[in-house]
Each structure stands twice: as C-alpha cells, then as structure tokens.
C-alpha cells in the first residue's frame, strides 16, 4: 500500500474534526512558537551585545593595558588612575613583546570644558596616537585625522566625535574653526563617523581626539598614560601577549615577587566571551523550558490519539475488513500524528516569527530569524509526531478486527 494514498483522507478527517485537531496541535504550536522566539531573540541579543562591544573597542584582536590593579573597571581618566603606566612602558612593549603588531597610547580626561563661541560642552578628551584609526577600524566622516608629524610636533588639532560636532557646530562647518579645550585653543581638523551605542547603551560619540603628545605636554601636563591598546598579530595569541606584557611591566616597575601588579591587562575577546556566556546560560535554561513545553505538546498528541484509537475501534475493524493490514493502520495513525504535529509546528513557527518581530521592536533589537532554528523547529515537530504517535499507532494496529467489528 502506498502511504501517500492516506494523506488526502486523513486531511479530510482532520478538517471535519477541527476542534480536536486544534487541541492536539495547541501544545506543539505554543512550544515551537516560544522556542522560535527564544532562539531568535537570544541570537539577536548576543549579536547586538557583540556589536556594542565592537562599537566601543573597534576590534577584538587587541589587549588593553591600564594602570592600577585589576579591580578598576569603570571609565578611566587622568584623575582616577595611578600614575604607573608611562610612555616608556609603551615603547618597551612595542619593541619587546613579539605578539604585538602596533600600539596606541591613550591619555584621556573627563569633565573638561570645551567652548566654541557661546556654545560649550564636556566631551571626553582623548589624547591618542596617530595610528588610532588603523588600529580601531574607525573612520573619519569629514576632514582628516591627525598624522605622525602632528604627534611629533605636538600640534594643537582636534578631531570631533559626531555628537560633539552636533553640539558645538549645529549649523556650521567645523573644519578650520578654533575651539577651546580648557584654556587651550585647538583647530578642528576632522569629524569622526558615528560609532553608535556602547555595551551599556550610551553614546560613544561625545568625545574629541587630539594627539597624545599635545595632550601630555600642552594640555594636561602629565607624563603617565590612562590606557594602552595593543593590536595582536594573531588574535588567538591574546593569552601569550598578556603573559609577556605582565613579565615585562613587572620588571620595569620593579614589582617584588608575590606583590600585586600596578597595572592590568585585559583581552576584550575574553571579557566578551564572559558576558555572552552569562547571557547564554539564562537563554539555555529558557530554551530547555520551551523544549519541555513542546514535549508536553507531544504528550497531548499521544493522549488524544490514544483516546482516538479506542473511539475509533469500529473504524479500525472496518478498515481491516476491507483490506487494511496492521502496517496500514499503523501508518495511518502515525501519519495523522505526524501531520498534526507538523501543522502545529508550522503554526508555531508563524506565531514565533510574529512574536520575534514584536519583541525585537520592543527591545530595539534587529529582527533576526535564523534558518537553522526554523529547520530545527520543523524537524522537532515531525520528530515529536513520530515519537508520541508511535505508541497509539501501534495500539491501533494491534486492535483485533474481529472484536472491533463485534462492538
């Protein structure tokens, strides 16, 4: 017997008992819908977190060296760090740590007034090396970044972040204009491309870049750094690089064996992994719950099909009398369970896609639907139908046609 011949009659029978079909499908539909929403939202949350970290850090193939012991995790500035990380340390790392391709020196401060005519603001001031753009992957939207030559000659030039530009020059072309950072005049040479939101959701565009030498000698008058960003030759060598940097800096800073470092080195990739792992543990738990809900949907299918088998004893007897073998009865009941479970799954995916769109809009996440999770939901619904349909189908096939016809 060709099982495809059963499909049409099963569909007709299901259509004539819609309430029962809907009840049977409901569990699987709800389960698959929540699975679809959870996996999609989970994945888009993960990607959004990654994106925000990337907005902040530019690339992940770096290590970040900061003064002070490792507990200091906030936004650093000249006023809240130990003066332990020097320009000479940067030079030593650049030449002596083999995993490092290049290094950017950073000296930054917060809460400094910046003025242009009658407008003012307090953007973060970042004195950085001229290789900042290359190392970070940031781009200039207008004008130019400063050069090596500017760093060497301590030029008073400023590159504005997108928000700062809007604040100080809402209607004016800023290039070539003179602003005052504290009391020191700077000429605006460029405007950065907007970077978007950081991990905490705040803007990363309210800042001004100036040459790190200018910052050190002409603005802040400090000889220590707030941060060093070192780009790795090979992104997988973060751990080795950290080890070498620690050894080198401990020697340079004359730190006794057993004493704590007066600096800390982090690998953004490792921090990132930690953050996403935390999120994914909760997500995994939710997925397990949704999976269980789906499985309960399967149990519902089994229960209703089992009731159906005893209600339909006579039908089974008649089918057997007109030529159905045990296997044909098995195929019929199994196919019915699989078709209902599959239909439930499809409805679940449809609801899940709608739900994902709603949740992404509410959470300001990009809408994302992975073909992998749709495929998985489809397979899962078919598998549930098979798994929970096989026992009732087996019972139906075992029904003695003689007894069934006599009832």
């Amino acid at each position: 017997m060709n099982p495809m011949k059963l499909v049409g009659p099963i569909l007709r029978a299901v259509a004539r008992n819609k309430m029962r079909a809907v009840l049977m499908m409901a569990g699987v539909t709800i389960g698959i819908a929540s699975l679809t929403i959870l996996t999609s939202i989970g994945e888009s949350t993960r990607r959004e977190t990654m994106k925000r970290f990337k907005n902040m850090l530019g690339t992940f193939d770096t290590v970040i060296i900061r003064p002070g012991s490792s507990k200091n995790r906030g936004m650093v500035s000249l006023t809240n760090v130990e003066p332990s990380l020097k320009f000479e340390d940067a030079a030593a790392i650049a030449t002596e740590v083999p995993e490092i391709r290049q290094l950017a020196e950073v000296q930054n401060a917060l809460d400094i007034d910046v003025k242009y005519q009658d407008r003012n603001g307090t953007p973060a001031i970042f004195g950085v090396s001229s290789n900042w753009l290359e190392l970070r992957g940031d781009e200039v939207a207008q004008g130019q970044f400063f050069s090596d030559e500017d760093v060497r000659s301590m030029t008073r030039v400023a590159i504005l972040g997108a928000d700062t530009q809007r604040q100080l020059f809402p209607e004016e072309d800023p290039i070539g204009k003179t602003i005052r950072i504290g009391d020191v005049p700077f000429v605006v040479r460029g405007v950065m491309m907007a970077r978007g939101a950081g991990p905490a959701g705040g803007s990363l565009d309210n800042l001004i870049f100036i040459p790190v030498t200018t910052a050190s000698k002409r603005l802040f008058n400090r000889d220590f750094l707030t941060m060093l960003i070192a780009q790795l030759k090979d992104p997988d060598q973060g751990a080795e690089a950290i080890g070498h940097i620690q050894t080198l800096l401990r020697a340079r800073h004359h730190i006794a064996v057993g004493a704590l470092d007066d600096f800390n080195v982090t690998n953004p990739r490792a921090v990132m992994a930690q953050v996403t792992t935390m999120g994914s543990t909760i997500r995994k738990l939710l997925v397990v719950v949704a999976f269980l809900a789906t499985a309960i949907g399967g149990v519902v299918i089994m229960a209703v099909t089992l009731i159906g088998v005893s209600e339909r004893r006579k039908e089974i007897g008649v089918r057997r009398a007109v030529g159905a073998s045990r296997n044909a009865i098995l195929a019929q009941f199994l196919l019915e369970a699989v078709m209902l479970s599959f239909a439930g799954g499809m409805a679940g995916i449809a609801i899940g896609v709608g739900g994902t769109q709603i949740v992404s809009r509410l959470q300001h996440l990009p809408f994302l639907l992975e073909s992998r999770s749709v495929l998985l939901a489809t397979l899962l619904s078919v598998a549930l139908g098979l798994l929970f349909g096989v026992y009732p189908a087996w019972k139906a096939a075992r029904t003695n046609p003689i007894d069934a016809l006599r009832d």
Binding site: M1, K5, V322, G323, S325, I402, L405
Partner: protein, 221 residues
C-alpha cells in the same frame, strides 16, 4: 472457490480452551449462493471470520481460489481480503463523518490501484444511490446505508461476498431490496455466502450449511 479441509479453531478464554469450530470440511463452488445458519454461539461468526481471512484456523487447510490461506501472515491475509472478498455487515459499519462516496473509496486505499472517484460514483449508481454521493452516513436511511456498504464491498471487484445478517437491521421493504441486489451480484457470477437465521432470507440461497456446536453440516435451504 472455497475448499475447507478439517478446519478447527480453538481459543483460550480465561485459561479454558474453547473450541468454536471442529473439523469443518466442505467446498463451495464459484458462483454459488450459500446460506450459513446457526444459533448464536454456534461458531458461525468464527467460520465467517476464517472464510473472510480475518482469522486463521488452529488446524486444517483453507484454500481460497486455489491459494492456501490457512496460515498466512497478516499482510498476505489483508491482501487476500482486499482483492477477493467483500464484507457486508448487519450494522452497515459505514465510517462516521465520512460521505457515502468516501466510504465506497475506502477499500481502494488498501488495494493495488489508485483511488478512483469515478469508479466509486459508478458503484453507488449501481446500488441506486447516485444522488446520495455526498451525504454522510447519519443522513441516510438504514437501507441506503446498507446499499453504500454493498457498493463499498464491490469496489475492488471481489469474487466472494460475505454478508453477515445483511437485512437484520432493516425493514421488510429495504431488506427485500438488499436481497435483490445480492441476487444480481450472484447472477454476475460472484459467490455469495450469507449468514442469517431468517428463514425468508435463507430461502434465497441455493444451498445451506448449518452449524451447531462448531460442527458444520449440509442442510436444506
């Protein structure tokens, strides 16, 4: 058509062996019209189930159309039912929530053929129900339901029709109509085996078998 050689059938019921059929030996020629008579509990249902390949004998040999079906597997017995046998029941046994024509189509699902709505419509027209194709069983009278059941039993063109009290649930007029249809089928060359204890119905047959305590004997129709 049918050759039964020392057919016995025993069941174990609550640990007690019950013999429903003892050494039944008889033959039925193709195209015959045979009635089987017996009181309830005589073993006639068991005999009908074995004749219809729904059950297998404990011992003995049953040849149906030359093929030994005494101890075949389920799939082969099902195939036999599908190809050679049409069942008609006392309580019609149409599927609920299923139209007349879909009931007639049912045996085609399990046969080596495609499902043909045209053939089903023709079979219904034959029993005078061409105008009732899309009615559900609950919308049909008893006589109409039984005619749908006959159309269903004919759809795979079986050589043997097994009718178990086909007029038992019908009034006289409807019963007579059904007997008329059975006569026509017999006239076409189909073998009819009819189980009844209605003398009027039994009188239609050319030959009668009587069964009592599991023993089959020849009787007067």
């Amino acid at each position: 058509m049918i050759q039964m050689e020392k057919i016995s059938r025993s069941y174990s019921r609550d640990g007690v062996i019950v013999t429903a059929l003892r050494d039944a030996t008889f033959q039925i020629a193709g195209g015959d019209f045979v009635v089987i008579r017996g009181s309830s509990g005589s073993g006639k249902s068991t005999l009908l189930n074995i004749l219809g390949c729904l059950d297998s004998p404990s011992t003995g040999t049953y040849l149906l159309d030359g093929a030994d079906v005494s101890h075949k597997k389920d799939a082969e017995l099902s195939h036999m039912r599908s190809q050679k046998i049409g069942f008609i029941f006392q309580s019609f046994n149409l599927l609920p929530r299923t139209t007349a024509i879909e009931n007639v189509e049912l045996p085609m699902m399990y046969a080596d053929r495609r499902i043909s709505r045209t053939d089903a419509a023709q079979a219904l027209a034959r029993v005078g129900l061409g105008h009732r194709e899309h009615h559900f069983a609950t919308e049909l009278s008893g006589g109409e339901q039984q005619r749908v059941a006959i159309a269903r039993s004919l759809i795979n063109d079986p050589a043997l029709i097994l009718a178990d009290e086909p007029t038992g649930n019908l009034d006289e007029k409807a019963g007579a109509d059904i007997m008329e249809i059975l006569h026509q089928l017999n006239a076409e060359g189909r073998t009819i085996i009819l189980v009844t204890h209605d003398d009027a119905v039994a009188a239609h047959a050319r030959r009668a078998l009587s069964i009592r305590d599991g023993v089959v004997t020849e009787a007067q129709p």
